[in-house]
C-alpha cells in the first residue's frame, strides 16, 4: 500500500482502479482487463508527469517529508560498504537521531554522518523522528575530529525537521552543541560533502551541512524555519504555510540560483520514494563527483576555500 500525498489524490484514484482491476482478473482468469489497466497506467503516468514537473514549494515540503523517501541509513546501506557505526558523545548519551561511523565509499575509507528519521513507528520513536539533541551534534563533532585526525573525507546526509526543542536538550546546551558542530564543519582539513536528502531544517541542518560542497535532491527543501512556523509568526496563522513556503524560497532550484548550494540531484519521476534505488544511485553519483572535485587538496587550502565560500555567500539576489 503506497502512501499518497494530499495533492496526489487523483493519482491514488487511478492507480487504485488499475490495481483493483488486476486483482479482479487474478480471481477470475476469464476476465481480460489488461488493456483497460494499461490505459489507467498511462493516465497515471501522465498525471504524475504533470504534477511533478511543476511542484509548488509547499508540495515539495510534502514530498521531502514523505515517509517512504530514502533516509540516511537507506543511503548508507546501499552506497557504502563496511559501515561501522560509532556511538556516543562521551559525555551523556548516544543520540540515535544522528547516525555516523566509519565506512568505505567506492573503496575509499570515509566518515559518514546523517540525520535518521526512522522507518517504522518503533524506530521513529527511538530516533526521535530525526530531531537530534545536543548529544547528536557532540557525536558529530567527535566523528569529524576522528576524520580530520586520520585524513578521511566526511560525507553528511541531512534530513531533519530541526534540532529537538525539548527541556533536557536546552538544559544540556542545544545551542552550544549546534554552534560547535558548525564550527567543526568549518575547521576540519578534510573534504566535507553534504547532501540534503529530505528536509534541511534550520540550525539543526546547518550543523552538519556547512561543507565544501552541498547538493540537494531535486525535491528536498532547506530552510531557516518550517513554513508552518514562519506562517504562524509572520502571518499569525499557521494555515498560511503555502504562502510561507513560497515566500521562503526553500526549494533546491531557488537555493541553487542564490548560490547557497552547488548542485541539484535529479529525482526519479514522482519523487525519490517512487524509485528509491534510482534516487540513491543518483546520490552516489553526485557524492563521487563532489569528492573527486576536492581530492588531493591540502588541508589548509580546503579550509580556506570553505571559509571563503561562506564569507562570499549571498552576493546575489533572487528577483
Amino acid at each position: 500500500m503506497r502512501n499518497y500525498l494530499e495533492f496526489e489524490k487523483g493519482l491514488a484514484d487511478i492507480e487504485g482502479k488499475a490495481a483493483e482491476l488486476r486483482a479482479l482478473a487474478r480471481s477470475d482468469p476469464q476476465m481480460d482487463v489488461e488493456a483497460e489497466a494499461e490505459a489507467l497506467d498511462a493516465r497515471a503516468r501522465k498525471l504524475l508527469e504533470e504534477l511533478y514537473s511543476d511542484l509548488s514549494a509547499w508540495r515539495k515540503c510534502q514530498v521531502a517529508r514523505h515517509p517512504e523517501r530514502p533516509h540516511a541509513l537507506d543511503v548508507i546501506q546501499t552506497l557504502f560498504t563496511e559501515f561501522t557505526p560509532l556511538a556516543g558523545d562521551r559525555n551523556f548519551a548516544e543520540d540515535l537521531a544522528i547516525v555516523g561511523g566509519l565506512a568505505r565509499f567506492r573503496d575509499q575509507p570515509v566518515v559518514v554522518l546523517g540525520h535518521e528519521k526512522g522507518a517504522d513507528t518503533k524506530s521513529r520513536l527511538e530516533r526521535n523522528f530525526g530531531m537530534a539533541r545536543p548529544e547528536g551534534y557532540r557525536k558529530a563533532v567527535r566523528l569529524m575530529d576522528l576524520a580530520d585526525r586520520f585524513g578521511l573525507p566526511v560525507i553528511t546526509l541531512v534530513d531533519t525537521a530541526g534540532a529537538y526543542p525539548g527541556k533536557g536538550a536546552e538544559e544540556r546546551g542545544q545551542a552550544e552543541a549546534i554552534a560547535r558542530s558548525t564550527e567543526k564543519c568549518l575547521s576540519i582539513g578534510v573534504p566535507l560533502v553534504s547532501v540534503i536528502i529530505g528536509e534541511g531544517g534550520s540550525g539543526g541542518a546547518v550543523a552538519l551541512a556547512a561543507g565544501d560542497r552541498v547538493a540537494m535532491l531535486e525535491h528536498s527543501v532547506y530552510s531557516v524555519i518550517s513554513p508552518e512556523g514562519c506562517a504562524s509568526i509572520l502571518w499569525k496563522d499557521a494555515e498560511k504555510m503555502r504562502e510561507a513556503a513560497e515566500a521562503l524560497r526553500l526549494t533546491a532550484q531557488d537555493l541553487k540560483k542564490l548560490g547557497v548550494i552547488d548542485r541539484i540531484i535529479p529525482e526519479p519521476l514522482g519523487g525519490a520514494h517512487r524509485d528509491r534505488e534510482a534516487a540513491i544511485a543518483a546520490i552516489g553519483e553526485a557524492i563521487g563527483q563532489m569528492l573527486d572535485e576536492l581530492s588531493g587538496q591540502p588541508a589548509d587550502a580546503l579550509r580556506q576555500a570553505r571559509r571563503r565560500k561562506y564569507l562570499e555567500m549571498g552576493r546575489k539576489g533572487l528577483h
Binding site: P165, E170, G173, A175, V224, L234, M313, G314, G317
Partner: protein, 306 residues
C-alpha cells in the same frame, strides 16, 4: 591615545544618539512596575534602581557607557543586497526595514565600534533588539565579519553583545547561512590569537545562540536574560508541560554550566576591562585608573558635531 586622534575625529558624531527624546519622561519598570524618571533610568543604563531589572539598552547607549570617555568610532559595515528574496508576508520586507530604520534611527540590527575599554583597545559589536527583534540577516552577518576583520587588523579583542529573537526570516536561507558566516568571523579572531568575549543580553535565542553567541572564549550574561535555542513557548507546545521557574534564564544556564559568569550591567565595564587585560597579558590597572565614561579629557561637548 594617539590612534584615537587619528581615527576618531572624522566620525566623532557617533557619540550622539540619533534617537528622539521620548515624549513621556516617565517609564514604568517592566518587572516591578515602579515609575521611573527617564533621565534616572538612562543614567542607570536602563537598570531599574528599585528591583535591578535589566531593561533593553541600545548598542549606541551601551557603547557610550562602555568605552573610555564615551568615545568610539563606528566601524563601517558593507550593505548587503536589500531584500534578496523580494519577501512579502502581510507586509513587504522592504517596508518593515524602513519602519525599523525610522523607529530606531539605526541602519540595521548590529552596530560595530572601536575604542578603548580601560585603556585597552577593543572592537565591540552590539545587537539591537529594538531593530526587528535584533534578527540576524545578511547585515548582521556583514557586521560580525567587519568587526572580526577590524579586530584582527588592530590586533584587538572582540566583544559581542548579543540580543536577538533569532534569524531574519524575511531573508530565508540567506539568514540561515549567517550561522556559518558569523562562525567564520569568530574563527578569524580566534586564529589571530585574540580574545573573543560574548555578553549575552535579553533575549538571545535561535540561530544567534546557536552560532557566534555561544562560541566565546569567555561567556558572560546579564542577569535575567533569556538565553536559548528553542523558545519556552515552542518547548511547552512540544512537551506539553509547564517549564520550571527561571528556565533558560541566565542564572539557570550558569547553574547548568553553560556560562562563565552572570554580571550586573553596572559592573560589566570593569569586568570586561579586567578580563581583556588578563587575556592579552596587559599589566593590571588600579581601580581609580579606569577612566570613567564621560570623564575623559578631550571628549567633545554636546553640540560639537560638525
Amino acid at each position: 591615545m594617539n590612534w584615537i586622534t587619528n581615527y576618531v575625529r572624522p566620525k566623532i558624531n557617533s557619540l550622539f544618539s540619533r534617537r528622539e527624546v521620548p515624549d513621556n519622561l516617565w517609564r514604568k519598570c517592566d518587572a516591578c512596575g515602579t515609575m521611573l524618571f527617564h533621565r534616572e533610568l538612562s543614567d542607570a543604563l536602563n537598570v531599574c534602581p528599585n528591583c535591578q531589572h535589566h531593561m533593553p539598552i541600545s548598542p549606541r547607549e551601551r557603547f557610550k557607557a562602555l568605552f573610555d570617555g564615551g568615545l568610539f568610532v563606528e566601524v563601517p559595515v558593507p550593505d548587503p543586497i536589500p531584500d534578496p528574496l523580494g519577501f512579502k508576508d502581510e507586509k513587504r520586507y522592504a517596508e518593515r526595514l524602513r519602519d525599523a530604520r525610522r523607529k530606531t534611527g539605526e541602519h540595521e540590527a548590529m552596530l560595530v565600534a572601536e575604542g578603548e575599554i580601560g585603556g585597552l583597545r577593543a572592537v565591540c559589536a552590539g545587537q539591537d533588539f529594538s531593530f526587528m527583534g535584533g534578527s540576524m540577516g545578511m547585515a548582521v552577518g556583514n557586521a560580525m565579519i567587519a568587526a572580526a576583520e577590524r579586530a584582527v587588523e588592530r590586533k584587538a579583542p572582540l566583544v559581542v553583545f548579543s540580543a536577538a529573537g533569532g534569524a531574519r526570516m524575511q531573508e530565508g536561507i540567506l539568514s540561515l547561512m549567517q550561522m556559518p558566516r558569523t562562525t567564520v568571523a569568530v574563527q578569524m579572531v580566534k586564529e589571530a590569537g585574540l580574545p573573543y568575549v560574548v555578553v549575552l543580553t535579553h533575549p538571545t535565542t535561535g540561530g544567534v545562540t546557536a552560532s557566534y553567541a555561544m562560541l566565546g572564549d569567555v561567556q558572560i550574561a546579564e542577569p535575567g536574560a533569556l538565553i536559548c535555542f528553542a523558545g519556552p513557548r515552542v518547548i511547552e507546545q512540544t512537551i506539553r508541560e509547564k517549564l520550571p521557574e527561571g528556565f533558560q534564564r541566565a542564572e539557570y544556564l550558569l547553574e547548568h554550566g553553560m556560562l562563565d559568569r552572570v554580571t550586573h550591567r553596572h559592573q560589566l565595564r570593569d569586568e570586561l576591562a579586567q578580563i581583556l587585560r588578563l587575556l592579552t597579558k596587559a599589566p593590571p590597572r588600579s581601580h581609580g585608573d579606569l577612566p570613567a565614561p564621560g570623564d575623559e579629557q578631550g571628549a567633545p561637548a554636546e553640540g560639537d558635531e560638525a
